[in-house]
Each structure stands twice: as structure tokens, then as C-alpha cells.
């Protein structure tokens, strides 16, 4: 590794101890031998690390909590649990917490299943209706064609001697 690459590592990972221990040790060994990299590291620590050391930890002023409390307590009716139903929903909430990809896959499978079943039912209904219509038409066609057949004779009401039977019944 040349000095430029080493200095690129010094300015970030080396300074922040983010390198694997082997590489950290290698760079440290290089810095001990190389005057330019040694000077770079020292300048960097002085300019970019030292000013941030021993910085006082700050706390916000006391009154700030009261301001925040006032704001959030004004929200309480909205954020408080609404009652038994909400508690039950919260308790069972884990049942409905799926990772997003699983939920999406389940949704796709459900949509495919529902549309397949629906399509089959519709197709079956259409087939039955078509068969009924075809059967009726065939029957009618047979009947019409049989009308032309001279071998078949039909009995009409006039030919039947119904009068005699009726008279006998009435008497």
C-alpha cells in the first residue's frame, strides 16, 4: 500500500478504530516508519480529534420537560387506549404482524386462488346452460323433422271418440 492509500485509511477507519486488528497494526507499523504519514496522523489528531475531547455533556433546561409534557398531555385522549376492544386488538396484534414480503406473497396466492375458483364456477354454469339449450334445440329439430315423415301419424282430438265416454260418465 502506498502512502496515499494509507492516509485515506488514517483519516477515517484508522482514527476511529474501525479497521480489523491486523490492518490497524500494519498501518500503525507504517506510521512509525514513514515521516509523512506520521506528520499527517499527528496533524489530524490535533485539528480534528482534540477539539472534541473533554466536551462538556449538556442537559436541556428544566422548563423544557414541562413544555413537552403540556403538549403531549393535550394529545392524551387520542393516544390513550380506547377500551376493551383496543386492548384485545393490541393483545392479538402479533397474529397480524407479518413481515411485508410474506404478507404480499400471501395476498398474491389468495387473489390467484379466488380468481381461479370464480372462473371455474362461471365456466361450469355456462357449460350447463349451453347443454340445456343445445338439448332443447335438438329435441325441437327432431320434432320438426318428424313432422315431414309420412310413416308417423298423429291422433288429433277430432279422431278420438271422446263424446261417447263423456256422455257415459255424465249419465
Amino acid at each position: 500500500m502506498n502512502c496515499k492509500k494509507i492516509q485515506d485509511l488514517i483519516i477515517t477507519d484508522y482514527l476511529d478504530n474501525e479497521l480489523k486488528s491486523g490492518l490497524q497494526a500494519k498501518i500503525k507499523a507504517h506510521i512509525e516508519k514513514c515521516a509523512a504519514c506520521c506528520q499527517f496522523e499527528q496533524a489530524l489528531r490535533q485539528a480534528a480529534v482534540e477539539p472534541f475531547k473533554h466536551v462538556q455533556k449538556l442537559q436541556p433546561p428544566e422548563y423544557l420537560w414541562h413544555r413537552i409534557k403540556e403538549t403531549v398531555t393535550a394529545d392524551l385522549p387520542e393516544t390513550e387506549p380506547a377500551g376493551v376492544l383496543v386492548k384485545v386488538k393490541d393483545a392479538l396484534g402479533f397474529l397480524f404482524q407479518f413481515p411485508k414480503p410474506v404478507f404480499a406473497a400471501a395476498l398474491v396466492v389468495t387473489v390467484v386462488l379466488v380468481s381461479t375458483v370464480y372462473t371455474r364456477v362461471i365456466v361450469q354454469k355456462k357449460q350447463v346452460a349451453r347443454q340445456q339449450v343445445t338439448g332443447y334445440l335438438n329435441e325441437q329439430a327432431d320434432f320438426i323433422s318428424s313432422l315431414k315423415d309420412p310413416k308417423i301419424t298423429y291422433i288429433n282430438d277430432k279422431e278420438l271418440d271422446l263424446n261417447a265416454v263423456v256422455e257415459e260418465y255424465l249419465l
Partner: protein, 183 residues
């Protein structure tokens, strides 16, 4: 910032204001510190702290523990601070007031030295762009790892590296009178 127990978060999420106050006292130092360093103005920092905790309170019911609460809080804080910084052009002048307010009990000599350090720090941070400033604050003052910074800022680790590199190069250039080094 200390770890915040999940029981406390659950209590606060169900509207327990006492639990929320406990969370506030554990986390407000971090939030205020980041807000003050990034915004460089005590008044703006207070507004940011308020905005962060109101947002946290309102979103706690939806917090699903997929990421740690700390990371989530870091992210809200940094986003609020950067948004305020980009939106608000108030003069960065009152960091010293904040130091005075919290340092009243200190001995005078120590207090002056501390104020001097804070003033110098504030001047340095002021010269960095807000994104670089946020990186330096999270790394140097709050001690976050690259991984935590990437999660908090929602950027790649290599972007963290690039921003830290640019920020440090700028700090090195700013200190050229005290630290004689040519980049």
C-alpha cells in the same frame, strides 16, 4: 446514552406519562447535545428537543422494536436537527448561553476554560456543512460507530466514511495556522 428498557417503552406507548418522563430524562441529554451542536443555537436546540420528544411520544404506539430504540431516536434527532438547520437561518450565536445555564455551579476558572473550549468547538462546527457537522458530532462527541451512524442517518457506511473524510479535511484546513500541514 444508556439503553432504554423495552418495558419502559411499552408503558410509555400505552400513555403512561411517568414512563415517558423517565425516557425523557435518560435520553434528553443526547438529543439536546446533538441538536445544539448541529443547529449551533440554544433556542433552536430547545425547539428541536421539543419536536423530537413530541414526535417520539406520538409514534411510540407504532414502534415495532425492529430497530433499537436508540437508533430510532438518533435518526429522529438528526433528521429534526438537519431539517431545522436547513430551514432556519437564525444566527448561530447562543451556544455560550446554553453552557452558562448548565454550568452555573462550576468553579469560575473551570467554567471559563469550558466556555472557551465550547466557543472554539462551536466556531469549528459552524464552518462545516450541516451533513458533515452531523457526522462529526455523532462520531466525535457522541461516540457512535460507523454502523450506528449509517443507520441513524439512513446512509451507506461508505457515505459515512466520505463525509467524515471531507469534514476532517476541512477541519485540518481550518487549523492550518495552528497545525502546519498541507493537504
Amino acid at each position: 446514552m444508556d439503553n432504554i428498557p423495552s418495558e419502559l417503552i411499552l408503558k410509555a406507548s400505552s400513555g403512561d406519562i411517568q414512563a415517558f418522563e423517565d425516557i425523557y430524562h435518560r435520553a434528553s441529554g443526547f438529543v439536546y447535545s446533538v441538536a445544539l451542536r448541529v443547529a449551533n443555537n440554544a433556542g433552536v436546540a430547545e425547539d428541536i428537543v421539543q419536536e423530537v420528544f413530541v414526535k417520539v411520544y406520538r409514534s411510540l404506539r407504532n414502534f415495532e422494536f425492529r430497530s433499537s430504540f436508540k437508533t430510532w431516536l438518533y435518526r429522529i434527532t438528526v433528521n429534526c436537527a438537519l431539517d431545522n438547520c436547513k430551514r432556519d437561518s437564525r444566527q448561530p450565536s447562543s451556544v455560550g448561553e446554553a453552557i452558562e445555564m448548565v454550568a452555573d455551579d462550576d468553579k469560575t476558572g473551570e467554567r471559563l476554560a469550558q466556555q472557551d473550549r465550547q466557543k472554539r468547538l462551536s466556531d469549528l462546527l459552524e464552518k462545516l456543512n450541516p451533513d458533515h457537522r452531523a457526522c462529526i458530532v455523532l462520531r466525535e462527541i457522541e461516540g457512535l460507530s460507523y454502523q450506528e451512524m449509517a443507520q441513524s442517518l439512513k446512509i451507506k457506511i461508505n457515505t459515512v466514511r466520505t463525509r467524515l473524510k471531507r469534514a476532517r479535511q476541512a477541519l485540518l484546513a481550518l487549523a492550518k495556522n495552528e497545525v502546519p500541514y498541507e493537504l
